[in-house]
């Protein structure tokens, strides 16, 4: 017969009872630690320079977030003169708005309703 979950938990809990610690043991441990800590120095804080690829990743992440999540950008594109709206038949609640701001700038906004 298999041990039931409750029984198994009880057995494990019983076996992993906390080891006893005497006050003398703790005192000796602290004295030893105090001595060793006094002999070493605290390291200075690390000023981490952000690698270039982290900046790129964060930029991509921010752009993706703005593209999909930021309502203001969608509405701005949708209300623009040179914009058009596309509504998906497959997904009723999805809307897409594209804005052409110039020869080299093209913005597409997608929104899930």
């Amino acid at each position: 017969m298999d041990l039931r979950d409750g029984e198994l938990d009880s057995f494990i809990g019983l076996a992993l009872q906390p080891a006893a610690i005497t006050s003398q043991q703790k005192q000796l441990a602290w004295e030893r630690l105090h001595q060793r800590a006094a002999a070493q120095s605290v390291l200075p804080p690390v000023v981490a320079a952000r690698p270039w690829w982290v900046a790129v990743l964060q930029g991509v992440r921010r752009s993706v977030y703005q593209f999909f999540m930021e309502e203001r950008r969608y509405e701005q594109a949708q209300s623009g003169r040179r914009s058009f709206e596309y509504t998906s038949r497959a997904i009723d609640s999805a809307r897409l708005a594209a804005e052409v701001l110039g020869p080299i700038r093209f913005s597409v906004m997608y929104q899930m309703g």
Partner: protein, 196 residues
């Protein structure tokens, strides 16, 4: 022991440790020594090694105080260091191929023996401890953090810096392994029938 301000928060004490204040280190030692030591004992199952690990853990707390994020709770950081130091020790032990005598010594170690328990329960505890000892390191750590330290799956994932699903999986397989091992012993079956 230097216990100056028991009401000070961990962050405040770490801030003082950064100024090389050993009294503040003493307060943190007083607050967390038992948890660190017991975790190390449960993982390594060697009280002398656990003492060394606890020492090294608090030495790291002192040495790297400036690099600890005080906006986060300290306990997970201490558990993480304890687990890492234990892992280093266990790895070295494997390389040394501990002799059978050493294992027997470890089994007979008085660190596990609590005066509050009757002799009948010792056999049961020893069997379960043996089964826990035979788990692989990752499973043993999850079992110890969950059952000894009472950490949730999310908290263990935070300590081990791995996904919650991984912790859940390790705990599941550890429990199944323990269940299987305990089922194969006659006494366990007898106890199980006794409970039923």
């Amino acid at each position: 022991m230097s216990i100056t301000e028991p009401e000070a928060s961990d962050a405040e004490l770490i801030e003082r440790v950064r100024q090389d204040n050993l009294s503040a280190l003493g307060s943190l030692f007083d607050r967390y020594y038992a948890q660190v030591y017991r975790t190390a004992v449960a993982i390594t199952q060697d009280s002398a090694v656990a003492e060394d690990i606890a020492q090294d853990c608090f030495l790291k707390l002192h040495r790297y105080a400036n690099r600890i994020d005080t906006t986060l709770p300290l306990a997970p950081w201490l558990y993480r260091v304890t687990v890492n130091l234990s892992y280093t020790w266990v790895s070295r032990q494997k390389k040394r191929r501990v002799s059978l005598e050493a294992v027997v010594d470890c089994l007979m170690s008085p660190v596990w023996h609590s005066p509050d328990h009757v002799a009948e329960s010792n056999e049961l505890q020893d069997q379960v401890r043996q089964a826990i000892r035979e788990l692989n390191f990752n499973q043993r750590v999850v079992v110890v953090l969950h059952y000894l330290n009472g950490l949730s799956l999310e908290e263990i994932a935070d300590v081990l810096e791995c996904p919650v699903g991984t912790v859940k999986s390790r705990l599941y397989y550890a429990r199944e392994s323990l269940r299987h091992k305990l089922n194969t012993t006659n006494w366990a079956q007898e106890v199980a029938h006794g409970f039923a």
